[in-house]
Amino acid sequence: MHDNARSPAASARKPETFRDAASETPFVRHLLIFAALAYLAFFLLLPLVSIFVEAFRRGAGAYFDALIEPDALAAIRLTLLVAAIAVPLNLVFGVAAAWAIAKFEFKGKAFLITLIDLPFSISPVISGLVYVLLFGSQSVLGPLLKSHGIEILFAVPGIVLATVFVTFPFVARELIPLMQDQGTGDEEAALSLGASGWQTFWRVTLPNIKWGLLYGVLLCNARAMGEFGAVSVVSGHIRGLTNTMPLHVEILYNEYNFVAAFAVATLLALLALVTLVLKAVLERRFGAEIAASRKH
């Protein structure tokens, strides 16, 4: 560890002062670890644990009953469908945007990055609201689409759009710094050896960024499945039809069916945990490769 790593020459010269000055005493170290862990316990672990405790309050039977109930299954299916559309869309966009931003110098780049980040800090309520204003019956576009039989709001397309909006930056944001750090040397080499643009991308760039890409996709997916505020505004809350899992949690909660609400919530929490474990496993297994790609 870093705190034990001292050059022998330095420690030979001034051992005592040096230890005080380049690292913390064991007491301070333990104090810091304790403080950090206490903070994480209060704000992270406790909420997580309480979800599972509430879900199993009436035993495993009630827990599983809540999950196989038809409306719960419909919510799970819809959530998976929405994520299956939204994530690939944002994946393609993320790669394209990162390519343009990281591999080229052009004016207005900071502005463009800011625009990409925007959904990150827009209130989810506003994200839903913009689509209501755009496609609602009171707008110009809504009645026009409706007359052609296209429904957006209070149907699956609206939910997908709102989800795409809130998860918009995830992949791009993960890739842009990574590709900026990697520079353009590899690609230039490949091109000078006669590879085509597509070949360069598939054979050179993609292998370099695949871990960052995967991480971005994982986070994007987790958020896509878990989004509440924006989807709530555009969903219409039709039971068994336009309810996603987070909305179904709210409905169950409002029916005083706390066990079922938390049972569905555990699925979402498990999804979050699986995402994190997957990421940790990848980092451990391919740590060297990832580090190499970062330092490229």
């Binding site: 705190d3 380049a22 903070y39 909420p47 110098e105 052009f106 913009v130 643009g197 878990g226 919530a265």
Partner: protein, 286 residues
């Protein structure tokens, strides 16, 4: 609009490069960006603009609006500060110390990114209510957390927790311990080393993390409404006021507040990106 401007002007505004695909990737990015983000948002702006300055000004300076914005920005600021202190601490112990469960802690930090906010809100409200696990601990001290602005801060700490850790951690990993040793051999004590040598290098990352957590906190809705108490002028956040205005069929009120928040978010993000670009140039990393 932006799309064509770029396509026409790109040869002038970008530096020449042998790498292909600029037109394709930038064109696609801008088209997609316009479709998903810009057109919907311009709908909001158009709607706000059509109400006229007088009405907009009246809504924007209404005391309830101002208080709601103050509550949102104030609590997000405090939560951001707490996350700066503890986020740096968590990053520090993850990078510098080896202890059992370090990997576990390292992966759990991202939980708030992945956990749906409504679920977080329900769980936090149950914990911090006067009869909850944590709430009942602090209740004898006369301290109320849930249903007060403190509750909002708790929710926003949860939401913003990963931001500072995740922006500071990679930068900290790259700090060469030789710098600290050099400072130490030159006679600096540990406190001085941290303050004069380590912190300045970490500052851009800390600021970025703070700003991200802050921006996220200002707009947060799902987790906050369950724990806030939602009392106008006291614990009513701006996104809730937007929802209230919508439910009064007062679209102008809703879009006006939304536009104000939008402008502030955009300004904040722009500043963050400038900090990042600056630190990339100065330190070679963001």
């Amino acid at each position: 609009m932006t799309d064509t401007t770029y396509a026409v002007a790109k040869w002038r505004i970008r530096k020449p490069s042998v790498i292909p695909g600029f037109g394709l990737t930038l064109g696609f990015s801008l088209a997609y960006l316009s479709l998903i983000i810009l057109i919907p948002i311009s709908g909001l702006v158009w709607r706000t603009a059509s109400m006229g300055w007088g009405e907009f000004f009246a809504i924007a300076t209404d005391e309830r609006t101002l208080r709601a914005l103050y509550v949102s920005f104030g609590t997000a600021f405090v939560a951001g500060l707490v996350n700066v202190v503890f986020g740096v601490l968590v990053a520090w112990i993850l990078v510098r110390y080896n202890f059992r469960g370090r990997r576990l802690i390292d992966s759990v930090v991202d939980l708030p990114f992945a956990l749906p906010t409504a679920v977080a809100g329900i769980a936090l409200a149950a914990l911090y209510a006067p009869n909850g696990w944590v709430g009942s601990l602090v209740a004898p001290l006369g301290l109320k957390i849930a249903f007060t602005p403190l509750g909002i801060i708790v929710a926003l700490i949860f939401i913003g927790l990963p931001f500072v850790v995740r922006t500071v951690q990679p930068v900290m990993e790259e700090i060469d311990s030789e710098v600290e040793e050099a400072a130490a051999t030159l006679g600096a004590n540990r406190f001085q080393t941290i303050r004069r040598v380590l912190l300045p290098g970490l500052m851009p990352a800390i600021l970025t993390g703070f700003a991200l957590a802050f921006a996220r906190g200002v707009g947060e809705y799902g987790s906050v409404i369950f724990i806030a108490g939602n009392i106008p002028y006291v614990s009513e956040i701006a996104p809730l006021l937007i929802v209230i205005r919508l439910e009064e069929f007062h679209y102008e009120g809703a879009t006006a507040i939304a536009s104000i928040m939008l402008v502030i978010s955009f300004a904040m993000l722009f500043i963050i990106n400038l900090i990042q670009a600056w630190s990339r140039r100065r330190f070679g990393h963001a």
